[in-house]
């Protein structure tokens, strides 16, 4: 079932030079899905477990790290981004980048409000 992602029977249209990022289609096997699924379940258990230990400031960091890891593997495998064109990868990146802009730039106000006395 699985094809190599590059250079196989899917066509590269010579006339359509405008789409060099044109990616061939890739079918992910159930085995990969199952592995990802198992990892996700394990991570869920891990995050519940980690929440019960007092690690101070590291609790939220670990929780978010696990959540981010889960999110990334869902995006890469369930959502096929690993096998997609660079355009899609950049698009996904852009979404999270803008979210970070929203958070960090807004926080630049909230964090430094107390610095001055006004």
């Amino acid at each position: 079932m699985a094809h190599e992602p590059q250079h196989e029977q899917h066509y590269h249209d010579a006339a359509n030079v405008t789409n060099p990022e044109h990616a061939s289609h890739h079918i992910v096997t159930p085995r990969v899905y199952a592995a990802v699924f198992a990892t996700l379940l394990a991570c869920t258990a891990l995050t519940v477990f980690a929440a019960d230990i007092n690690l101070g400031v590291f609790n939220p960091i670990i929780a978010l790290a696990i959540a981010s890891f889960k999110g990334v593997i869902v995006i890469l495998f369930f959502m096929h981004v690993k096998y997609q064109s660079r355009l899609i990868k950049v698009t996904v990146g852009a979404g999270f980048f803008m979210f970070l802009v929203l958070v960090t730039m807004t926080l630049s106000d909230y964090i430094s409000r107390a610095w001055g006395l006004w």
């Binding site: 030079v17 405008t18 802009v101 730039m105």
Partner: protein
């Protein structure tokens, strides 16, 4: 190129000229064929009609506002009514006119044609986006008919959430829905520009109009959802009263400001970027010259889109944000002014060594360049932290954004409508009348908004129903200008309608322009091109145009 003349206008022999027998307008008949169309050109026409409708409603409110401000006393209407007037003026003009104006009409019509595609990537979503716009517009009108809303278009919390009893929820919902219309338009454009370009149409062969729309679409897709969530929070706050924005319950009213301006600052670039695209096309065509520094102009659009996301806090400099944060945002604001300066100078130098003619679109484009320069540079006043203290929330800021939005965007919109009118309808507008309209608009505009800069520095606050008598003279000047401006806007409305039936037949390419949209018949076929074109030359290649053989024109007689 024998006898020098003052025009490039190249019309077919009017005694024999005919509109193409088959085109997108007569392809199907009946109202339903329009309401259920998936043709991007027909949707563009639907948009054109609906935004014109809302423009004149918004304009009527502007007229009423100026009329009230003719005298210092609050004599024409009550304070509440006045507040509803400027709120409606703002909401209608921004969300229902400026944001969709160029992208949803000209962009919708032209982007597929310019990149050699048969339609946008998602025609049904395009139609859906028009329906969402109509629903948003209808809800706004509903709020208006039910008694109006007086939050100001900025919906400042906690005023909008706890202290007003007008139709805030209806209006917020209207903006939410209209916002999704804009998201879908932007999404459609991005996918179309990435995926639907014809063979040979590389990124750097695209007209700058397409680049500008690409940049604006990025802003629409990434910015608008944040406005949507801000509006939802306003509605929930009103319904449940929960206090995210209420300081007595532990919330922060500035959080709303952050979320709101995260969209609403990029929104001004959503409004102006497509206008800049129009100006690039017009200036190039009427000076018969490739745009000076094509790449710089293209990248400056993208730079504006990117930097546009990093400057929103300059709307809040005196609102109690951290002073250090204000420093960062002020610096970034200065940076975002640079790409606009690049564009202005590149347009100017496009004229150099050109062969310039002065048709109506070019006059509007000149108007744009002058007014946008003033509008842009007065923006630097407001981005400069200390100066902002004196100028913000006064008529200076009103004048500034009207210079950018009306002097800039509306001029560009009119330039574009005149420029592509022959393509969209197959007929010419009356040239001398339209030149008069362009001049009247320019004079009216200057007279309306120049006095407001002075008023602003004198300290007259915006959104004031009554004002101290010493400000009257300048306000009278402004109202007088608004009257002239109103005439300037009514004129195109009338003669363009007239030209639909009586205008001269335009032929395929009356301006001898290079874009792919001009190489096909006017009005175009439903499928745009009988065969998908191949782009084998750069954008704005006037040599190619001159040597192009007749059979390269896609034409169905």
């Amino acid at each position: 190129m024998s006898a020098p003349s003052n025009t490039i206008l190249n019309l077919p022999d009017q005694s024999t000229a005919q509109l193409p027998r088959r085109n997108f307008i007569n392809a199907e008949h009946g109202l339903l064929s329009w309401l259920f169309t998936s043709d991007h050109k027909r949707i563009a026409i639907l948009y054109l009609i609906s935004i014109t409708f809302f423009f004149f409603i918004g304009g009527a409110f502007a007229g009423l506002i100026r009329l009230e401000l003719l005298t210092p006393q609050p004599d024409l209407v009550s304070s509440d009514t006045y507040n509803k007037f400027f709120t409606m003026h703002g909401i209608i003009m921004i969300f229902l006119f400026l944001v969709p104006s160029v992208p949803a009409t000209l962009g919708n019509f032209l982007i597929p044609m310019m990149i050699g595609a048969r339609d946008l990537a998602f025609p049904k979503i395009n139609l859906l986006s028009w329906y969402l716009y109509v629903i948003g517009g209808t809800l706004t009108l509903t709020a208006l008919v039910l008694g109006g809303v007086d939050t100001g278009w900025t919906f400042t919390a906690p005023l909008s959430t706890h202290y007003l009893n007008t139709h805030v929820i209806t209006t917020a919902f209207a903006i939410f829905v209209a916002g999704f219309s804009s998201v879908f338009t932007g999404l459609n454009f991005i996918v179309t520009i990435h995926r639907m370009r014809c063979p040979g149409m590389t990124w750097f062969r695209m007209p700058l109009f397409v680049w500008a729309h690409y940049a604006a679409s990025i802003l629409m897709v990434l910015g608008t959802p944040v406005l949507a969530i801000a509006m939802i929070l306003i509605v929930l706050e009103r319904l449940v009263g929960i206090g995210v924005f209420d300081p007595t319950k532990g919330g922060d009213p500035l959080l709303f400001q952050h979320l709101f301006w995260f969209y609403s600052h990029p929104a001004v670039y959503i409004m102006i970027l497509p206008g800049m695209g129009v100006i690039s096309e017009v200036v190039s065509t009427f000076s018969r010259k490739r745009i000076f520094g094509y790449t710089a102009v293209a990248f400056s659009s993208v730079a504006i889109a990117l930097f546009g996301f990093f400057v929103w806090e300059h709307h809040m400099f005196i609102m109690g944000v951290s002073n250090y944060s204000a420093l960062i945002f002020s610096l970034l604001t200065m940076l975002v002014a640079v790409p606009s300066a690049i564009k202005i100078f590149n347009w100017c130098f496009t004229l150099q060594m050109g062969s310039i003619t002065f048709e109506t679109p070019m006059l509007y484009a000149f108007g744009f360049m002058g007014l946008f320069t003033i509008g842009g540079l007065t923006g630097v006043f407001l981005g400069s932290l200390g100066m902002d203290i004196q100028l913000t929330e006064t008529y200076f800021i009103v004048a500034h954004f009207h210079f950018v939005m009306v002097g800039g965007m509306l001029m560009a919109f009119l330039a574009g409508v005149h420029f592509w009118w022959p393509k969209m309808t197959g007929r010419m507008y009356p040239e001398s009348l339209s030149k008069l309209a362009a001049v009247v608009t320019f004079i009216g505009f200057i007279l309306t908004f120049m006095p407001q800069f002075v008023l602003g520095y004198l300290g007259m606050p915006r959104r004031y129903h009554a004002y101290p008598p010493e400000f009257q003279v300048l306000n009278v000047l402004s109202t007088a200008g608004a009257t002239i401006l109103g005439i300037g806007y009514l004129m195109p409305m009338i003669y363009l309608a007239w030209s639909l039936k009586y205008g001269a037949i335009a032929g395929n390419n009356p301006w001898q322009a290079t874009g792919l949209e001009w190489q096909t018949q006017s009005p175009p076929l439903t499928e745009n091109f009988t065969e998908i074109p191949i782009m084998d030359h750069e954008a704005y290649d006037y040599d190619w145009l001159e040597h192009k053989t007749a059979d390269e024109v896609t034409h169905v007689a």
